[in-house]
């Protein structure tokens, strides 16, 4: 019989189909692994793409926290409880669940049930919770008193790792003295607020990347909390007569004024730089360069002006006296401010007093 290619192909196919990958129950031996049934950390799958997720470690690579000093961690016996602490006899439990874990109301009501209270609604919930934002972490704290003097402290924490974390402590009022209860409340709150996404808890961490600024905030000079900062004073500053606002609100040139006078006028600018702005000497030499003056070797050689008490100021003139600049250096917190008056010799002289008043008011908070 002649061999027909078609038949050959067909039979090869059939054999292959039969031979490959018939699933069967089988067994094999493997070296011992670290996993075991009890005390294993629960692994909750992330579910992104084709990557099976990784075992969670404590503190997990994603979220960290700082435990109050007087609390001791005790071994966890239950699955899904990530940690248990002993706070002077009171048991505090920490658990985490993916996503919103059923929602805040459902969980609070479950806790209420545990201390014999009836469930509440959204309005009641709003009364119970104290919500705050610690950096990127949302923390909701509550304290409820239920039947038989049972007090429950709870915290619902969302650090932004895709999970919701629950912290719970329960004690009986009658058998706990007031001081201990207060200390517990304080420690509990501090612990809850210390949750952070990233390596180090409470404060630093990888969340430095700026989110896009909301367009409503004009991102001008940094709105510092300190009302007495240079920024704030500068924005409140009312220019005296003869000074016209040229520009303002930039990040580099925080403010600029054009002063008109008989001497030919002058320009006033206020700018800031981080830290020491590169060093006083470097800046002074730069200004000297702008006026065509040679640089100086060290600060001792600088002729200081006494324009404003307490601040380093220089009064520079170019070779033929036509160009004059008065600059004041004012350190402030983590940055350095530079106030400059620049113009013809006569123009600058005419504005000198007003400029000094400006610097005193803005840099030192003196009377306007």
């Amino acid at each position: 019989m002649q061999i027909r290619p078609g038949a050959v192909a067909a039979s090869v196919l059939a054999v292959a189909a039969l031979g490959c990958d018939r699933a069967e129950i089988h067994s094999y031996r493997v070296p011992k692994s670290a996993e075991s049934a009890s005390g294993a950390d629960a692994l909750l799958a992330g579910g992104a793409g084709e990557n099976p997720s990784l075992p969670q470690r404590r503190p997990s690579g994603a979220v960290s926290w700082s435990v109050p000093a007087s609390w001791k961690e005790v071994p966890t016996t239950q699955q899904f409880r990530l940690a248990t602490f002993d706070a002077a006899g009171v048991e505090v439990s920490l658990t985490a669940f993916p996503g919103s874990a059923g929602g805040v109301l459902a969980n609070v009501n479950r806790w209420r049930g545990q201390i014999g209270l009836d469930p509440t609604d959204d309005a009641g919930l709003a009364q119970l919770l104290t919500t705050s934002r610690e950096g990127p972490t949302d923390v909701s704290l509550l304290s409820m008193e239920g039947k038989d003097g049972k007090v429950m402290l709870g915290a619902i924490i969302v650090p932004g790792d895709g999970q919701t974390w629950f912290l719970k402590a329960m004690f009986v009022k009658a058998t706990t003295d007031a001081a201990k209860a207060d200390a517990l409340r304080a420690d509990f709150g501090a612990f809850a607020r210390s949750f952070r996404l990233g390596g180090t808890p409470a404060g630093s961490g990888d969340d430095a990347a700026a989110a896009p600024a909301s367009p409503t905030t004009s991102p001008t000079t940094s709105p510092s909390n300190d009302g007495a900062s240079i920024d704030a004073r500068l924005s409140r500053f009312k220019p005296p007569e003869g000074w016209a606002v040229e520009s303002g609100g930039g990040n580099i040139v925080a403010a600029a004024f054009k002063a008109t006078n008989d001497g030919g006028g002058a320009r006033v600018t206020a700018t800031s730089l981080g830290n020491d702005g590169g060093g006083d000497l470097a800046n002074i030499n730069r200004w000297r360069g702008q006026l065509g003056l040679p640089p100086l070797a060290d600060l001792a050689a600088v002729e200081r002006s006494d324009l404003v008490a307490g601040l380093l100021a220089v009064d520079l003139r170019n070779a033929d006296g036509t160009d004059r600049m008065i600059s004041v250096i004012a350190p402030s917190g983590g940055s350095t401010w530079f106030f400059k008056l620049r113009g013809t010799a006569a123009g600058v002289e005419a504005e000198r007093a007003k400029f000094a008043a400006f610097v005193r008011e803005v840099a030192q908070g003196g009377k306007p």
Partner: protein
């Protein structure tokens, strides 16, 4: 004047060369001045955005393009450069807030902003300021709906929000990263950094290059032009010492942006197309003098356009350090480019003139597509790690794109054949015999290029993640082009179709190629989904419909074809 037709191509050549010469001269000429300062050196200062080091000029142009749709802005009816705009934004934000740089088309968005002048399309920050809160609220609502399900208003408001955020980021100097790495081990850094510990607090970089940049801005803002230029020169010298290669590329990139080679060549292709069409129309009237003259002129113009476009592509290779096809934009440019030598080669063979018309049409159509794709900003964006340059990837992308070009070229020649042959007498004679041969020849080439290109893609995939063929939509699209070209060839060899059939199927090849090139991107699946366009769906559908209609013309019986009627 009788011999004018003979000199006509030379005249055209001279005009075109003069045109290009002046464009080149203009791009090398000294730039604008603003506030008494020559902007040219400031334009060349390098910054980093999107991970790529580029001249400030490019960043300013891209940002302005994204916000307003144009690379320049208007001051008192005069057009000023993007660099001037960005400098004003940094040094005098309140003045900059009055510049009309936000493009808004949707009427509901305009009415939300309480803008009375609805005929205008560009608006300023100041005009929108009173209603910004409402914009933010609407945008937050819109962002809760997935992009595919947003209605046009939601999409428009989300776009506007994106533009406003981008504007705020640039104004605050959080982007681009302007602080250059002057010492070894340093990285590009932003001038302004948001404090991670205290919300709302910002700190300003104080390194050497930050201070130098600051000095430039401060002197610019006070109009101290002499010191500004001195500061720029000093900083440039410092940068030349530490970042010499980036500075060189940056200076070249500024010239490249001014020259706009792809825009110039699209204009030239358009001219060539017109010359070719006129030549075709002149065929019955003056077949010996004007027809060859116009065709020759068209070829001359195409040649110049090709040289310009080649320069543009080479410039991109130099600037990016990558093969010429890296994203959808560059694939469009390359497709048009690759058609030209193919067409000219075929032209040499057959002398029908149609090929040059087809090539010039594809040239300017693809450049228009490219132009539309460039509106999203930096066309020389950084490629993610898996697309790192690698011999297989570079050859795959180039060869497969050549395959696309060839299939399109065959399709367009077929369109001319069908329309010209059936509906007009313009192709009577030699053309009717030569064109089908050309179509066949180009399809042979297309089959080879698309097959080899597809297999090279498989080899790259095998080298990169161990899977030669993954049945990905883009891979499938390429396979469909190969299959279609093979079907045409085998059907012709088997006598199942003849000239009309080959032409009709070649036109269908346009649909298959358009599907593979754009359609697969719109499915949003697979490893190749790097382009997302909304209005493109409509354009793609319209294109496919047009091709089907043209195919229908091919089914008119040969006996009725006008160009085949006896004279």
């Amino acid at each position: 004047m009788k011999s004018f037709p003979r000199f006509f191509p030379i005249v055209v050549a001279l005009c075109v060369l003069a045109f290009m010469g002046s464009a080149i001269a203009r791009s090398f000429a000294a730039g604008d001045r603003a506030r008494g300062v020559a902007l040219e050196d400031i334009e060349r200062l390098p910054v980093s955005a999107g991970g790529r080091t580029k001249p400030l000029d490019t960043f300013a142009r891209n940002t302005l393009l994204r916000l307003s749709g144009r690379q320049t802005f208007e001051v008192d009816d005069a057009r000023r450069s993007a660099t001037e705009w960005i400098l004003e934004l940094w040094t005098d934000p309140s003045a900059a807030a009055e510049r009309r740089v936000f493009r808004i088309d949707h009427p509901d968005v305009k009415s939300l902003l309480a803008i009375s002048d609805t005929a205008r399309t560009r608006f300023s920050w100041k005009e929108m300021e009173p209603k910004l809160d409402e914009v933010v609220r609407q945008a937050e609502l819109a962002q809760q709906v997935s992009r595919k399900q947003q209605d046009p208003f939601q999409r428009a408001i989300a776009d506007l929000y994106g533009k406003l955020s981008e504007y705020a980021e640039v104004r605050a100097l959080r982007t681009p990263y302007v602080v250059a790495p002057l010492a070894a081990g340093e990285e590009w850094a932003p001038m302004v950094v948001v404090d991670p510990h205290e919300k709302g607090k910002t700190s300003i970089n104080d390194s050497e290059s930050a201070r130098a940049f600051q000095a430039i801005l401060v002197t610019y803002s006070t109009g101290d032009s002499a010191n500004c230029e001195r500061a720029v020169a000093a900083y440039t010298a410092r940068l030349n010492a530490s970042l010499a290669p980036e500075m060189q590329r940056g200076a070249f990139e500024v010239v490249f942006s001014r020259l706009e080679p792809f825009y110039q060549s699209s204009a030239l292709y358009m001219l060539a197309f017109l010359l070719g069409c006129v030549g075709l129309l002149a065929a019955p009237i003056s077949p010996d003098r004007w027809k060859p003259s116009l065709f020759r002129a068209a070829i001359v113009v195409i040649a110049v356009a090709f040289v310009v476009q080649t320069f543009g592509l080479c410039a991109r290779i130099y600037l990016q350090g990558r093969p010429p096809v890296t994203n959808l934009y560059s694939s469009a440019v390359f497709i048009g480019w690759a058609c030209v030598p193919l067409a000219l080669f075929g032209e040499w063979f057959s002398r029908v003139g149609i090929l040059s018309i087809a090539a010039s049409f594809i040239g300017f159509a693809t450049l228009i597509v490219a132009h539309n794709l460039s509106a999203s900003g930096d066309t020389m964006e950084m490629m993610q790690a898996v697309l790192d340059t690698n011999f297989w990837l570079a050859t795959h992308v180039v060869v497969v794109t050549i395959g696309y070009s060839a299939t399109f070229l065959a399709g367009f020649i077929a369109i001319f054949y069908v329309l010209g042959g059936a509906c007009t007498r313009l192709l009577a004679g030699e053309a009717m015999k030569a064109l089908p041969k050309m179509i066949y020849g180009v399809i042979c080439f297309a089959a080879l290029a698309s097959f080899v290109g597809t297999v090279l893609g498989g080899i790259w995939a095998d080298q990169s993640w161990g899977r030669f063929w993954g049945w990905d939509p883009k891979e499938n699209g390429a396979a469909m082009i190969v299959a279609w070209n093979l079907i045409i060839l085998h059907a012709r060899w088997g006598g199942m179709i003849r000239e009309r059939g080959v032409a009709a199927m070649a036109i269908a090849g346009n649909v298959v190629t358009a599907w593979s090139w754009f359609g697969t991107n719109m499915l949003g699946v697979g490893l190749h989904s790097y382009g997302f366009m909304d209005s493109a769906v409509f354009v793609l559908s319209a294109f496919c419909l047009s091709q089907l209609l043209l195919m229908a013309v091919a089914f008119v019986p040969t006996a009725k074809w006008k160009s085949l009627q006896p004279a």
